[in-house]
C-alpha cells in the first residue's frame, strides 16, 4: 500500500494542498460548538427579569455565520483538490500499469492472464481511488477533531473524557475483528472477478465455435457457477460490513447519552441545585463527544475499507513488480556501431521452456546470407516457431548463441534489435485505426508512396484501394478483413520497415497459391539484399530457397537445397511425398535446374 503511494510522487503537492484545506475546514468547524456554548451559557445565566442579552446573541450568531462561510469555502477547496487528486491517482496508476505491461515478455502475459490484467487496470484501480478519496479527507480531519475535542473536554471537566476512554477501545476491538474476518474475503472477491471476466472474454472470442457446437448451455452453466460463487462471496462481505456498522453506531449513541448521565453525576456532586453553568457545560461536552466519536467513525470506515484496498493494491503491485523475463543489456552496444549486414546466425543453440524438462530445440546451427532465403520446415511441434522466436528475443536461448549482424542478440537494446527485423507472425494481428496507422507500425514516418508500394508488394493494394485507401478503418482485431487480407496487411506492415532481415512465420498459410506466388515474386525484388527466413508448411513455397533447414522434434535433421535434401534427408522426403505426387516432384526438380541454369547464365 505504502509502496503504491511512493509511486505518486508527482501528486504530493496536491496532497499537501488537500491537507491544508482539510485542516482549515476542521478548525473552523470546531469553532461553532464554542459559540453555541456561549449562547446557552448566556441564557442560563441571564437575569430572570431582564431576559438574555439580545445584542450578545445576535453578535454571536453573526460570528457563527462568518465562520460557516469560511468553512464552506475551505470545504469547496478541499473537494476540488481532492477530486483532482483522486482522478489523477487513478490516471497514474492505470498508466503505470499499462506501461509496465508493454515490457512484459510473452511468458509474463501468459502467467498473469489477459483477463486478470484487465480487471487490475480497471476494477482494482477504482477500489484504490475510492479509498484514497476517503483517506486524504479523513487522515487530517479525524485526528484533528479527536485531539482538539479531547483537549476541550479536558478543559471543561476531565470526567467527560472518561467516556471517550471507554468507548474508543470497544470500537477498536470491533474494527480489528472485522478486519481479521474480512481481509481474506476481499482478495477472494477480486480473484473471482478475474475468473468471471475470463469466462466472459472466452465467450466473446469463441462466439462462432460456441454457436457451431450449440454449447451455449454449457458456457452458461460454467458462467453461472462462477457468477454465483462470486456473488456469494460478495454477499458474505456485504453482510459483515452491514453487521458492523450498526454496532458501531449503537456504541456511538450510548457514548453520546452517557455525556448527559455524567452531567447529572457532576450536578449531584456539586451539591448546588441551581448550578446552571454545569448545564451548559454538559451540552457543550455533548457536542465535543459527538465530534470525537464521529471522527472515530470516519476512521473506522477507512479501516473497514482497508482490507479490500490492500487486496487490490497487492494485485496491482504484483503486476507492476513482475520483472520482464527479457531484460535489456546494460552494456548494450549503441545501434550506430553495428553494421547492418542482414545476417542471422545460430550457434549450437539449445532452448528449453521454463516449465518443461525436454529441450524444445537443441544443437541448432546455421547462418543466413543476405539476398538468400532460408526456409524452415518440419512437423507441428517440431520447434519451428520457437526457433524464430529466439531471433527478436521473444524468448532467450538457454544455451548457445543467436547472432544478428554478428552480434549476440543479448548484447542489443531490445528495441534496437527489433527494428532490424521484419517479423510476420503466424496469426495476423491488426489494430484498430486506419490502414495507414497499422502500416506506420513498421516505420513511423513512412510516406504514402512507401506504404502503397509495400501494399502492392503484399498484394493488398487492390482491396485496400477499393475501400478508402490508406484511410480505410480497421476495426478491433481487424475483424472487417478476411483472414487472407489480414495476413497480407500484416506482411505489408513488415515490408514498410525495409529491414535487412525478414522472418515469415508461416505467414502465407491463408493465401491462395496465386496470390502467394505473386507476392513472393514481388517480394524477391523488394527485398533483394535481405536475409529472408521462412517457416513454411508447403514444400512448393520453399522449393527455391537457397537453404532449407529440416526440423524434427527440435533437432536439425538436414540442411540444404530442395534437390540435396530430396536425395539425402529422409524426413524431408516424407514431407515432400505427403504433399506431391511423382509428376509434381519431377516438376519441382525441373524448376531447380531452371534456376541453376538461370544463375549460371548470369
Amino acid at each position: 500500500m505504502l509502496k503504491l503511494l511512493k509511486l505518486m510522487k508527482s501528486l504530493w503537492w496536491q496532497l499537501i494542498i488537500v491537507f491544508i484545506f482539510v485542516a482549515l475546514q476542521t478548525i473552523l468547524q470546531l469553532q461553532l460548538p464554542g459559540y453555541t456554548n456561549e449562547i446557552t451559557a448566556q441564557l442560563s445565566q441571564a437575569d430572570p427579569l431582564l431576559g438574555p442579552d439580545m445584542n450578545f446573541i445576535l453578535m454571536t450568531g453573526l460570528k457563527m455565520l462568518g465562520i460557516s462561510l469560511l468553512g464552506f469555502a475551505a470545504a469547496i477547496g478541499q473537494m476540488v483538490t481532492n477530486a483532482s487528486l483522486m482522478a489523477n491517482f487513478g490516471k497514474i496508476l492505470r498508466s503505470k500499469l499499462f506501461k509496465q505491461v508493454q515490457n512484459y515478455s510473452i511468458s509474463n502475459i501468459n502467467k498473469v492472464g489477459t483477463s486478470s490484467l484487465l480487471t487490475r487496470i480497471n476494477s482494482d484501480t477504482r477500489v484504490l481511488q475510492t479509498f484514497i478519496f476517503m483517506l486524504t479527507r479523513t487522515a487530517i480531519m479525524a485526528p484533528t477533531f479527536m485531539v482538539v475535542g479531547t483537549l476541550k473536554l479536558l478543559q471543561i471537566n476531565p470526567m467527560y473524557t472518561s467516556i471517550i476512554l471507554i468507548g474508543m477501545p470497544i470500537v477498536l476491538i470491533v474494527i480489528v475483528v472485522t478486519f481479521k474476518i474480512a481481509s481474506p474475503l476481499f482478495s477472494l472477491v477480486q480473484e473471482k472477478l478475474d475468473y468471471v471476466t475470463l469466462l466472459f472474454r472466452e465467450g466473446l472470442t469463441g462466439v462462432r465455435v460456441v454457436r457451431a457446437f450449440n454449447q451455449e448451455e454449457r458456457e452458461f452453466r460454467f458462467f453461472d457457477k462462477a457468477n454465483r460463487s462470486m456473488t456469494d462471496v460478495n454477499i458474505k462481505v456485504g453482510k459483515i460490513m452491514e453487521f458492523v456498522n450498526p454496532i458501531i453506531s449503537v456504541i456511538f449513541n450510548i457514548a453520546y447519552v452517557s455525556v448527559f448521565i455524567v452531567g447529572f453525576m457532576l450536578f449531584e456532586q456539586s451539591g448546588d441545585a441551581t448550578n446552571k453553568i454545569l448545564f451548559s457545560q454538559t451540552i457543550g461536552a455533548a457536542g465535543y463527544v459527538n465530534s470525537i466519536m464521529m471522527s472515530f467513525l470516519m476512521l473506522s470506515f477507512i479501516f473497514i475499507m482497508f482490507p479490500r484496498s490492500a487486496a487490490s493494491a497487492k494485485r496491482i503491485l504484483a503486476a507492476l513488480n513482475l520483472e520482464p523475463e527479457i531484460r535489456n543489456n546494460v552494456n548494450a552496444l549503441p545501434i550506430t556501431e553495428i553494421e547492418d549486414a542482414g545476417v542471422v546466425e545460430f550457434k549450437n543453440v539449445l532452448f528449453t521452456f521454463s516449465d518443461n524438462q525436454h529441450p524444445t530445440l537443441s544443437h541448432i546451427s546455421f547462418t543466413t546470407k543476405p539476398g538468400q532465403v532460408t526456409a524452415i520446415i518440419g512437423s507441428t511441434g517440431s520447434g519451428k516457431s520457437s526457433l524464430i522466436n529466439l531471433i527478436p528475443r521473444f524468448f532467450d536461448a538457454t544455451e548457445g548463441q543467436v547472432l544478428v549482424n554478428n552480434i549476440d542478440v543479448k548484447d542489443y537494446q531490445v528495441n534496437d534489435l527489433r527494428t532490424k527485423i521484419g517479423f510476420v507472425p503466424q496469426q495476423a494481428v491488426l489494430f484498430s485505426g486506419s490502414v495507414r496507422d497499422n502500416l506506420r507500425f513498421g516505420k513511423s514516418d513512412a510516406t504514402d508512396e512507401e506504404m502503397i508500394e509495400a501494399l502492392k508488394v503484399a498484394q493488398s493494394w487492390n482491396f485496400v484501394k477499393k475501400k478508402e485507401g490508406l484511410d480505410t478503418m480497421v476495426s478491433q482485431g481487424g475483424k472487417n478483413f478476411s483472414g487472407g487480407q489480414k495476413q497480407r496487411l500484416a506482411i505489408a506492415r513488415a515490408l514498410v520497415r525495409k529491414p535487412n532481415i525478414y522472418i515469415f512465420d508461416d505467414s502465407f498459410s491463408a493465401l491462395d497459391f496465386k496470390t502467394d506466388i505473386k507476392l513472393r515474386t514481388a517480394l524477391s525484388n523488394y527485398a533483394k539484399n535481405a536475409s529472408v527466413i521462412i517457416v513454411a508448411q508447403r514444400v512448393s513455397s520453399i522449393i527455391n530457397a537457397e537453404q532449407i533447414v529440416v526440423l524434427d522434434e527440435g533437432k536439425m535433421m538436414g540442411i540444404g537445397t530442395h534437390a540435396q535434401l530430396l536425395s539425402s534427408c529422409l524426413v524431408y522426403q516424407e514431407i515432400v511425398k505427403s504433399q506431391m505426387d511423382k509428376d509434381e516432384i519431377e516438376k519441382t526438380m525441373q524448376i531447380e535446374k531452371d534456376v541453376l541454369a538461370f544463375e549460371g547464365g548470369e
Partner: protein, 608 residues
C-alpha cells in the same frame, strides 16, 4: 431468481438516464415483496430515530431540571428516573439500529442477486445477438459492460435504496416532530429547505453528463487495453509501445477529466448542504436564544442534522447514483440490442431428418448494405458430396460457410437443406448437424480433455482418446504433464497453433456430425501430420456432406466437386481433372505452384 422481465427484440435505445432509471425500477418488480418489507423496516427505524430528540428535549430543558431533584440539601437526584429516561433513549437507539441492520442485510442480498442476474442476462443476451454485433463492438467494450458497469450497479444499489428510503422517512418524521416541539424553530429550519433542494438538483443535473462520459471512456479504455494485451508481441516487435501508450494516455486523460469533473460536481453537494445546515444552526441558536428555550435548541440541533441529512446523504451518494445510472444506460443499450430472428414457431428439431443435401437459389448477401458481396448465387450439393471451395482471399469462401451455419441471414433468395429452407430448422438443430473446424482455433482455459469433449459432452473417455488418435494429437497429449488433464491457458497459449488446430479437429470428430465444414482446418498443421490424418479425414468425410476450404490444392484434389469463387460469385465448378482441362481460373491457380517450370517465368524466390 432473475427478474421476469422479458426483453423485447425491438430496438429501443435509452438515450437518457431517466429512461434507464425507469427500466431499473421495472427490473426490480421481482423483488417487490422484499422491498416492501425493507421499506417498512426502514420507516420504523427512522421513526424511532426521530423519537430520540423528542425524548431528550424535556430532559435537557433547564427549566425541567428540577424534576430530577429528589432532595435539594444535600443534593440527591432521582437516579431511578434518570436511568429510566436514558434507558428508554438507548433502547430506542438499539432497536432502530437492529431494524436498520435487518433492512441492510436484506438489501445486500438483493443488490448482489440483482447483479448476478444482470450478468447472467448479459451472458445469455450475447448468445442471441447476431454475429454482426460483435463485428461492430470491441470485445473490451462488451467486457466492460459485463464487469465494470454491473459492478457499479451492484456495489451501490443497496446504499442507494437504503439511503433514499431512509432519507425520505427521516425527512418526513423530523418535519412532524419539529412542529410538535416548537413551531417557530421548525419554521426557521424549514426555511433552509428550498436552498437545499436548489443546490442538490442543479448539481446533480450538471454532473450526470460527466458520469456517463466517465463510464463511456472506461469502456473505450478497456477496448484499447484488451486489444493491446492480446497483440502485445506484435507491438513489441514493431516497437509500438510508445504509440500505444500515447493512444492509451489520450483516452486515460479524457477519462480522468470526466472522473474529476463528475466527482467534483457531486462533491459540491456535501459541503453546500453542510453550509445550509450551519445556516440553520445559527438561525436556531439565535431564534432559540431570543425565545429563551434552551431545551428546544438542544433538540433542534439534533433535528437540524437529521433534517439536512437526506440531502447530505444524497450528496454523498449522488456520485454513486449517477455512476450507476450511467452503467445502467450502457447495459440496457446492450440488452436492448436487436437479436437474431427467433426460430419460427414450429421449426424442425428432428436431427434425423437432415441428410445433407444443399440447394442455393438466387442467394444474395452482404455484410453491409452498401457493399454487395454475394449476388445471385446458385448451387446444388448432394448428400455425401465433398465440396471444395477455392478462390483468392476475399472471394467470399468463409462467407459461404457463415451462411450455411446461419451465422448471418441472407438478404435474398433461399438456402435449402434436404428440401427445407434452413430458416425452418431450429438453429440448434441446424448447427448440431454440422461439425465445423475453423482456421482461428478457439481454446478455452481448461483441460485438454474438456476442450476435446466440447464437441459432445457425454462422450466417453474412449471416444475422446479415439478422436485424439484420429486427429494425430494423442501422442503429443500423452507427453504433456497430466496428459488429458493438462490445463490449457486462456487462449491456449501454452501449446502451438498447429497443436491447437489438431485439438479442434478432434473436437469436430467427436461430435460425429452429418455435415462437416473444414475452413482452413489444417493450415497450421504440417503436411506430414496432415497426410497422416488424411486417411482418417477421408473416413470421416465418407457419407457426410463436407465443405473444405483450403489453399493447399493437394488437400482438395480428391473432392467430388470443386467450386471456384472469385469476388463473391462462383465462376467455375467441376472436378480437379475437369477444371484443369478447362484451363480456366482454377488451372491458373493450380499451375501457379509450379510456376517457373514449363513457362519461362522468373524464379519465384529471390535470387539475383
Amino acid at each position: 431468481m432473475p427478474p421476469k422481465m422479458q426483453m423485447s427484440g425491438r430496438q429501443s435505445r435509452p438515450k437518457n438516464s431517466k429512461q434507464s432509471f425507469l427500466k431499473l425500477l421495472i427490473e426490480f418488480r421481482a423483488y417487490r415483496t422484499k422491498l416492501i418489507i425493507i421499506s417498512l423496516i426502514i420507516i420504523a427505524g427512522a421513526v424511532l430515530q426521530v423519537m430520540v430528540p423528542v425524548f431528550i428535549q424535556p430532559i435537557l430543558n433547564i427549566n425541567n431540571l428540577q424534576s430530577y431533584v429528589l432532595n435539594a440539601t444535600p443534593l440527591t437526584l432521582n437516579w431511578l428516573r434518570i436511568a429510566g429516561d436514558f434507558g428508554l433513549i438507548i433502547g430506542f437507539y438499539i432497536v432502530s439500529a437492529i431494524l436498520n441492520m435487518f433492512a441492510l442485510l436484506l438489501l445486500v442480498r438483493i443488490a448482489n442477486d440483482y447483479g448476478y442476474s444482470l450478468r447472467n442476462k448479459i451472458k445469455k443476451k450475447l448468445d442471441r445477438l447476431p454475429l454482426s454485433y460483435f463485428d461492430k463492438h470491441s470485445y473490451g467494450e462488451i467486457l466492460s459492460k459485463g464487469t465494470n458497469d454491473v459492478d457499479a450497479i451492484t456495489q451501490s444499489l443497496n446504499q442507494i435504496v437504503y439511503q433514499t428510503l431512509h432519507s425520505i422517512s427521516l425527512f418526513v418524521g423530523v418535519l412532524v416532530a419539529m412542529f410538535i416541539i416548537n413551531w417557530r424553530l421548525a419554521l426557521v429550519t424549514l426555511a433552509t429547505l428550498p436552498l437545499s433542494l436548489l443546490i442538490t438538483f442543479t448539481i446533480t443535473k450538471t454532473s450526470q453528463k460527466q458520469f456517463v462520459k466517465f463510464q463511456v471512456k472506461t469502456g473505450e479504455l478497456e477496448g484499447i487495453v484488451e486489444e493491446n494485451f492480446s497483440g502485445l508481441s506484435i507491438i513489441q516487435l514493431y516497437n509500438q509501445q510508445q504509440n500505444q501508450i500515447d493512444k492509451f494516455e489520450a483516452v486515460n486523460k479524457e477519462m480522468t477529466k470526466a472522473n474529476w469533473v463528475s466527482q467534483l460536481l457531486s462533491a459540491f453537494i456535501f459541503p453546500s448542504i453542510r453550509f445550509v445546515n450551519n445556516l440553520g444552526f445559527v438561525g436556531v441558536s439565535v431564534v432559540g436564544g431570543l425565545i429563551n428555550d434552551s431545551g428546544s435548541i438542544a433538540a433542534f440541533l439534533l433535528f437540524l442534522n437529521m433534517f439536512t441529512l437526506p440531502f447530505q446523504q444524497l450528496g454523498q451518494i449522488s456520485g454513486i447514483i449517477q455512476t450507476t445510472l450511467a452503467g445502467a444506460e450502457r447495459i440496457f443499450e446492450l440488452l436492448d440490442a436487436k437479436e437474431e430472428d427467433k426460430d419460427i414457431p414450429d421449426a424442425i428439431s428432428d436431427e434425423t431428418l437432415i441428410h445433407g443435401e444443399y440447394k442455393f437459389r438466387n442467394v444474395a448477401f452482404s455484410y453491409s448494405p452498401d457493399k454487395p458481396l454475394i449476388e445471385n448465387m446458385n448451387l446444388d450439393i448432394k448428400q455425401g458430396d465433398i465440396v471444395a471451395i477455392v478462390g483468392p482471399t476475399g472471394a467470399g469462401k468463409t462467407t459461404l460457410v457463415n451462411l450455411v451455419m446461419r451465422f448471418y441471414e441472407i438478404s435474398e433468395g433461399e438456402i435449402t437443406l434436404d428440401g427445407v429452407n434452413i430458416r425452418d430448422y431450429k438453429r440448434e438443430t441446424l448447427r448440431s448437424s454440422v461439425g465445423m473446424v475453423l482456421q482461428d482455433t478457439w481454446i478455452f482455459k481448461g483441460t485438454i480433455g474438456a476442450n476435446i469433449r466440447y464437441g459432445r459432452s457425454d462422450a466417453s473417455e474412449e471416444d475422446m482418446i479415439l478422436a485424439a488418435e484420429s486427429a494425430k494429437v494423442h501422442h503429443f497429449i500423452t507427453t504433456l504433464p497430466g496428459g488429458y488433464n493438462f490445463v490449457l491457458n486462456e487462449d491456449g497459449t501454452n501449446i502451438s497453433q498447429g497443436q491447437r488446430q489438431l485439438i479442434t479437429i478432434a473436437r469436430a470428430i467427436i461430435s460425429n456430425p452429418r455435415i462437416l465444414i473444414l475452413d482452413e482446418a489444417t493450415s497450421s498443421v504440417d503436411t506430414r501430420t496432415e497426410y497422416a490424418i488424411q486417411t482418417v479425414m477421408e473416413d470421416i468425410m465418407k457419407n457426410r456432406t463436407t465443405f473444405i476450404i483450403a489453399h493447399r490444392l493437394s488437400t482438395i484434389k480428391n473432392a467430388k466437386k470443386i467450386i471456384v469463387m472469385n469476388r463473391g460469385s462462383i465462376i467455375e465448378t467441376g472436378t480437379h481433372q475437369e477444371l484443369l482441362a478447362a484451363n480456366g481460373f482454377y488451372a491458373e491457380l493450380y499451375n501457379a505452384q509450379f510456376l517457373g517450370s514449363s513457362q519461362n517465368v522468373e524464379p519465384v524466390i529471390a535470387s539475383n
